[in-house]
Symmetry: C2
Subunit: 592 residues, 2 copies
């Protein structure tokens, strides 16, 4: 193994001076110029590029297979892709085994932990998604058993291996994802990046299967509505089902896909952070055990729950109505847009209030190196592009279309709001993540010297006479902000006889003590509200509510092929954006 | 302007304590919670996200127009896109004017310069490309004059504005691109990112026009070869040319496109670095005036020139042959692949030797923050993906194809080598850019104390008796490494009576004096060779040598639509990769 030592023909720098002089033969001296070592001091940047390029190429091999599969005339069949995926998963399982065994043996193998990576709620969420993926594997096995006679064995082996892979991967994530690897760096890098890109490929595979399913449904709807020049791809294998459950399995699969897709993309993000951490020294401060305070949470959860409930109603109504006549389809699409506009308006408002609160209390941002946070910000920014592109296309289509459907301008408004909402939400989340943490402890510590500086500025006797007010403010920190406005007149009267103090300095301090708590409460409500709204906006497209296919406006401007390609590429990004926002907003909620 | 101060309704933190207490009215006190300022302390990260999102959306608006244009049934016409581009360019010109005027008035406007950004050779290269872009604008105006009666005025206005834009932009780049802006940060950020994305849009526009031109040529060739179910898009406007020069202009344009495309993408990269630099404190060391030494450059330039010359021969032969019969097309494609394999083999070899040299002399890498270098590395990595995808698709196509064309396995070999070559070249360039600079001064400075430590370790008289040897080594630094092997025996005899010295220590030192120079010479030759090879590999696809369209293998596996889409997306990335490698290799050449 290249990792373990130095290639035999080469000399280490250290031994060089003595060995060169003590050995008299000339040949060895000529070799001296080739003192090459691939070990300890192999530069980190190179190892990063080396393994990163490997990972990208892995992804591209898989992508080329998927592209070939999407062309009907190709000699590439599904089993080829599945075989590739199976072998990649097996390789990953082997590497994880090696890692666990190695770590068990060697105590100095991992010296540090990155406490920011893979928080417990994230790992919990992943386990839940993994569980649903396992159910999906069971469905797939059931489906294979029914059609065994005419399906390739790869279709049967794949879910088995996938289940093993899922279980071992979740185990790995629970116990090792926080590790900051410092030995065997290059080999570890290859292993982790292999895992990242294997999961990305599984994500791509899921996304493409789901897109196919949606396109088929869409085409069938168009056929029902009278379009004839469309061929629907055959979904069922060409033999009879030997059990009675095949249709249940294939129907159930389509509802489980979204969870499986989110599972794989989340795992690859978490593992990518682990990869970035290899060989790093964590310079940022560790998360203190933040206590999740939930007092004062009223408006956010209530409004959010209303949003979530109405979303489910809209989803059910939409799915029922859209398959019917052209008229009821129109009303379904209109309903969706109206609902979306209201929802997005509230989300924009919440995000703007959050940003205004941040502006009113300019805490310096924390620019220390933190791969996990940087990735969060980059992903929010990057995946928003998908839905921005769709929205701009919709806007252009509405402007340029000749026929005027009823929901034309509502579509315009909706698309514009999607763009603005993502713009504001990104700003809000990213600033929240980068703000230096304000724990209530910090507030207290910082305010104490300020109070004493006041006493020093005036006279000690004056200060002690106001101790009562200050202490009350301290003890009732949470209540003060509520009682502040009613107390204001009393306070003003109290100040009237102390003109020797710097003007208003005490009123400032009491406010500073009180404010963070009020601010924080509003921010927490906003985070919860946005959290639930983002879940809602994930549910809708994930379970079949895609008016982009059903309104027909964009197809008139971009043509069927281009528009379905745009939606097929942009929709998974949009779904991931929503899920990632949900995860990030949970972080925001913990932090503020 | 938000930039210039504080919004009127809001209070600054500083003034707050006094103003709140001195004003007795209650309303103002309630406002106190809204002390919002958008000025000085507006966090840098937010300004980055704010302007970055603006830029991305600008690009997406343009992209959606381009996508609509590519569908024939759309109501969007070319003049709409041109109008957008014209207004964006005008906006950028206005901003640049503001910047120049502002900088002229205020001396403290820009306090720092980033010496690594926009090196003079880069600016020189850009000016050259800009000059060709200006010629292209002249051609476009000529073309418009010919077809004036049936073309939209936008087609005539566009080249005029583009010419003004080009001139003012080159002026801006020459005198201001190194600026590290520290005041008006947020406004400046918007201006610079607007410029970045305007240029990216102009790049996209150029790429799409070029792709259309290529596809039309390709279709016409297919028609000539007997394929009938293909419709060729009409390139000519629907009226007669009023001058005699229209066909010259339209023909000339197709040869000038590649330069215009490279011009815009390079400008956006350079401006992006400027954007990244805003508000930064440059922590990395400034470039000393590196003297470009050219002694010892023999093998690299000679081999590179041979490669370049043969490339031009191959290009001419290919273009002549490929339009002929099916047989001569086959021989043209085979010739291209054979030539490519030889070329890429040599490039792989050169890159590997470079990497081995780096491994034999592990200099620590420089990880200090340097936006320009980080972007270079990211771009090399990111743009390589395009051609990797094409290559993997080709490999898959060759493996899975049923019919066996003569050049099937040569295509396989070629594609594999493309992947490996980019892999190695990226490693080589990125490591070169990250290595701490070894100037010859450093070598000398470092060696002197080592020599004296030897004298101290033994006796002074011994050391002085070897002054002759050491001084000679100093004076003939460049010659020593050549004469070292022949002198070895003499030296050994010389040492034989000085056993009191540590074994071989002097032979080590003389070697250390000599080695960097020898290593550096080999590295310089490699850099020059790769530089010329990358130019060659840029020329071929830029001027019409695209066997991906002409071999027919991939179309059989992926279908015409998917494959042309892949090539259309991946080819501009590949072209940019080659040009960017050329620029980076020039940097490598200066550094090693």
């Amino acid at each position: 193994m290249v990792e373990q030592g130095v290639l035999d023909i080469m000399y280490l720098n250290k031994n060089n001076s003595s060995s060169a002089a003590s050995s008299p033969d000339k040949e060895k001296k000529n070799f001296d110029n080739l003192k090459i070592s691939f070990t300890d001091d192999y530069p980190k940047k190179n190892a990063e590029i080396l393994s990163g390029q490997y990972g990208i190429n892995l992804l591209l091999v898989g992508l080329s297979l998927m592209l070939a599969l999407s062309y009907s005339g190709s000699a590439v069949k599904e089993e080829h892709l599945l075989s590739l995926l199976i072998s990649l998963m097996l390789l990953q399982i082997t590497w994880m085994l090696w890692y666990i065994v190695r770590k068990g043996r060697q105590t100095c193998f991992v010296s540090e932990k990155d406490s920011d990576a893979g928080t417990s709620w994230l790992r919990g969420g992943l386990s839940l998604l993994a569980l649903i993926s396992l159910i999906m594997d069971a469905f797939r096995i059931g489906y294979y058993v029914g059609y065994k006679t005419c399906l390739s064995p790869a279709v049967g082996v794949y879910p088995v291996i996938h289940a093993v892979h899922t279980i071992s991967q979740v185990h790995f994530l629970w116990f090792h994802v926080k590790d900051v690897i410092k030995t065997f760096e290059t080999f570890a890098r290859f292993g982790v990046i292999h895992a990242v890109f294997t999961n990305l490929l599984l994500w791509c595979n899921g996304v493409i299967s789901e897109a196919k399913h949606f396109l088929d449904t869409h085409k069938r709807r168009l056929l029902d509505l009278g379009y004839t020049n469309i061929t629907v791809g055959e979904e069922e294998p060409c033999c009879n089902c030997t059990t009675n459950t095949c249709s249940i399995f294939s129907h159930g699969l389509s509802y489980l896909y979204p969870f499986n897709i989110e599972y794989h993309i989340f795992v690859s993000v978490v593992l990518f952070v682990m990869w970035k951490n290899i060989g790093h020294t964590t310079e940022y401060q560790r998360n203190q055990n933040v206590v999740m305070r939930t007092n004062g949470l009223v408006a956010g959860p209530i409004l959010g729950t209303i949003a979530l409930a109405s979303t489910i109603v809209v989803l059910v109504l939409y799915i029922i109505k859209v398959g019917d006549s052209a008229e009821s389809r129109e009303s379904a699409v209109t309903m969706f847009y109206c609902y979306g506009i209201v929802m997005l308006l509230f989300m924009c408002l919440a995000g703007s209030v959050g940003l205004l609160i941040f502006r009113s209390d300019n805490v310096p941002l924390d620019y220390s190196k933190n791969p996990s946070r940087k990735l969060d910000a980059d992903l929010l920014f990057g995946t928003a592009i998908g839905s921005w592109l769709m929205s701009w296309c919709s806007i252009l289509a509405v402007i340029s279309i000749k026929s005027r459907p009823v929901y034309g301008w509502i579509n315009f408004m909706y698309s514009l709001l999607v763009i603005i909402e993502k713009y504001i939400q990104n700003l809000f989340i990213i600033e929240s993540l980068y703000r230096k943490q304000e724990t209530s402890e910090r507030d207290e510590v910082e305010t104490i010297p300020e109070i004493y500086s006041v006493s020093a500025g005036s006279s000690l006797s004056l200060a002690s006479s106001y101790n009562g007010i200050i202490n009350r403010a301290f003890e009732n920190q949470d209540k003060v902000c509520v009682s502040l406005e009613t107390d204001q007149e009393i306070n003003n009267q109290g100040y009237s006889h102390t003109r020797s103090l710097p003007e208003g300095s005490i009123s400032l301090h009491t406010r500073r003590l009180a404010k963070p708590s009020k601010r924080r409460r509003v921010l927490k409500n906003i985070a919860v509200f946005l959290f639930l709204c983002n879940i809602s906006l994930w549910i809708l497209p994930a379970f079949g509510c895609r008016p982009q296919f059903d309104n027909g406006i964009e197809e008139e401007t971009f043509g069927y092929t281009i528009w379905t390609t745009i939606v097929t590429v942009a929709m998974p990004l949009n779904l991931f954006y929503r899920m990632h926002s949900v995860a990030s907003l949970l972080d925001v909620f913990r932090k503020v």
